[in-house]
């Protein structure tokens, strides 16, 4: 009975790490959705199968050696087996050949990661603990800034310039590409050519402080028309407050500490310390994936930002609960 329980437990423990892989490929490098991640995936698959085959061969050789030793005891007098010497030489040739193949495959995959012409320029700046995402353009009126969300057009290559505002972070969208560090005072870049529309999750992959774990990037790959429509919406200034409550909320926003850090395009709030809030309510998450984008969550966040994400840089701004509701009316209207 206890042996069975132990076996069940060990099976469960074995299954546990695999459970994470099954979540629809939102954050899986095994379900590659871009050219770059496919290049990495091919090297990975090649190594997996070759190394599995080698492992099986080694285990088989070991089993054969054990079996053969028992027989060899009976045939005393022979110290050297010519077959074994030849097999060892062949083994060395095989291993050197396979390693060369791995090196070549890895080198070619690396070339593929950096090949391609950029159709779109995006600058991602990692800060403690959120992502500032700027869509660049030669025309200044076609540039805009957003936070914690990255939208990419399918079948186009985006060049993502990677900067850091404070410490070293790492940009990792497993379904689209490998990791690339964001280093203060240094500019890195990755190319992303997504081939499958869908939602993916990016995550900071270099420990960057208290809230490193809650530093997610919401990535969505859209078709060309969908991306153009999203871009046009993002380029527009923030919608004007639609009713008296929201109007009062806007006045509160501009008159309080909110506007000292946040920008809302189309108003006098233009600070770039915190995330751009121009189209806040159109995002899917708050605080870099820490909370869902819902009115209750935003209310809790405004009431005490340090509760949901302790240590983040947003201070607790003292607000009367009634004023907070007015501010929520305004913020939830920023679509």
């Amino acid at each position: 009975m206890t042996a069975r329980a132990a076996r069940t437990l060990s099976l469960l423990l074995l299954a546990l790490p695999l459970a994470g892989c099954a979540v629809q490929g939102v954050q899986s490098s095994l379900q590659a959705a871009a050219d770059q991640s496919r290049a990495i995936d091919q090297v990975w698959t090649l190594m997996l199968w070759v190394c599995s085959a080698i492992y099986v061969a080694v285990i088989a050789a070991l089993a054969w050696a054990i079996w053969r030793r028992r027989r060899a005891v009976q045939r005393e007098g022979r110290t050297r087996d010519p077959l074994l010497a030849r097999a060892l030489a062949a083994w060395v040739v095989l291993v050197v050949g396979l390693l060369s193949w791995f090196v070549a495959a890895s080198f070619l995959a690396d070339r593929r990661l950096h090949a391609g012409h950029a159709d779109l320029e995006i600058r991602v700046t990692a800060k403690q603990w959120w992502w500032q995402v700027e869509y660049l353009s030669p025309q200044p009126d076609q540039q805009f800034s957003t936070a914690n969300e990255l939208r990419l057009p399918r079948d186009q290559t985006a060049r993502i310039e990677l900067l850091s505002g404070d410490v070293i972070h790492s940009f990792w969208v497993p379904a689209l590409s490998g990791k690339e560090d964001l280093i203060p005072g240094y500019s890195n870049a990755v190319l992303l050519t997504p081939r499958r529309a869908g939602r993916y999750r990016g995550q900071c992959a270099e420990f960057c402080g208290l809230q490193h774990a809650q530093m997610a990037l919401d990535v969505e790959v859209l078709d060309a028309a969908g991306f153009a429509a999203w871009r046009a919406r993002q380029l527009a200034p923030a919608p004007a407050p639609s009713d008296a409550h929201a109007l009062r909320g806007a006045q509160l926003f501009l008159g309080s500490a909110c506007a000292s850090c946040h920008a809302v395009r189309g108003t006098s709030a233009a600070s770039r310390l915190g995330p751009d809030l121009t189209h806040l309510a159109s995002r899917r998450a708050l605080a870099a994936g820490a909370l869902p984008m819902r009115r209750e969550a935003l209310r809790a966040w405004l009431a005490d930002p340090q509760h949901a994400k302790p240590g983040n840089q947003m201070p607790q701004v003292p607000l009367d609960p009634r004023d907070r509701e007015l501010l929520l009316d305004y913020l939830m209207g920023l679509r």
Partner: protein
């Protein structure tokens, strides 16, 4: 006798450890202010009683904490205090790292100067900053003038150096020549 020595030594070590806790303590929730918003700026006062120059408990709380001083430095750069005070050296605004204080150099007086503003240029930050941020800034400005505990002030800058260390700089030609033909130094 010796056991008493040992006990007192142990107590000293424990107290030193407790001091370290205070230095490193991070408070994520803003502490309520509840302080005198109008600290005296001069020693002129009716009756000529001497001014109590010791910082309040709240002032000490911010001055003795490395996290608050560090956050103050971050805010000092973020809100462009450098624009007028030039990294503490002063330019348009007065220097903050010397012994000259127009409106007082205690942490309470600095806090009041930040929150209320001062004539001829210093804007009032009341309502634009939370009170905790104003205290953190005041703690950093105190640190600029060397008026915080050495145990709490950081010995290392947060910002990157603009140039490589001098030992790492490549030798450059000293002959006069065409400036446009010269290569910029490598990064």
């Amino acid at each position: 006798m010796c056991s008493r020595c040992l006990a007192s030594a142990l107590l000293t070590v424990l107290l030193a450890g407790a001091g370290g806790c205070e230095r490193e303590r991070r408070e994520y929730h803003s502490t309520p202010a509840g302080t005198d918003a109008r600290p005296a700026l001069t020693s002129f006062r009716p009756g000529g009683a001497p001014l109590d120059a010791a910082p309040s408990a709240l002032g000490r709380h911010y001055q003795d904490n490395a996290f608050h001083i560090g956050q103050g430095g971050r805010l000092f750069r973020s809100y462009n205090c450098n624009g007028c005070h030039g990294a503490g050296g002063g330019a348009i605004g007065p220097a903050l790292m010397d012994a000259q204080w127009r409106y007082g150099g205690s942490i309470e007086q600095i806090h009041a100067s930040i929150v209320d503003g001062r004539p001829n240029g210093m804007p009032a930050w009341r309502g634009k900053l939370t009170d905790e941020q104003a205290w953190q800034l005041a703690a950093y400005v105190s640190a600029l003038a060397g008026n915080v505990s050495k145990a709490a002030a950081p010995s290392r800058r947060d910002a990157l150096s603009a140039t490589p260390p001098l030992t790492q700089l490549p030798a450059q030609p000293t002959q006069p020549g065409d400036a446009s033909a010269q290569q910029p130094p490598p990064q």
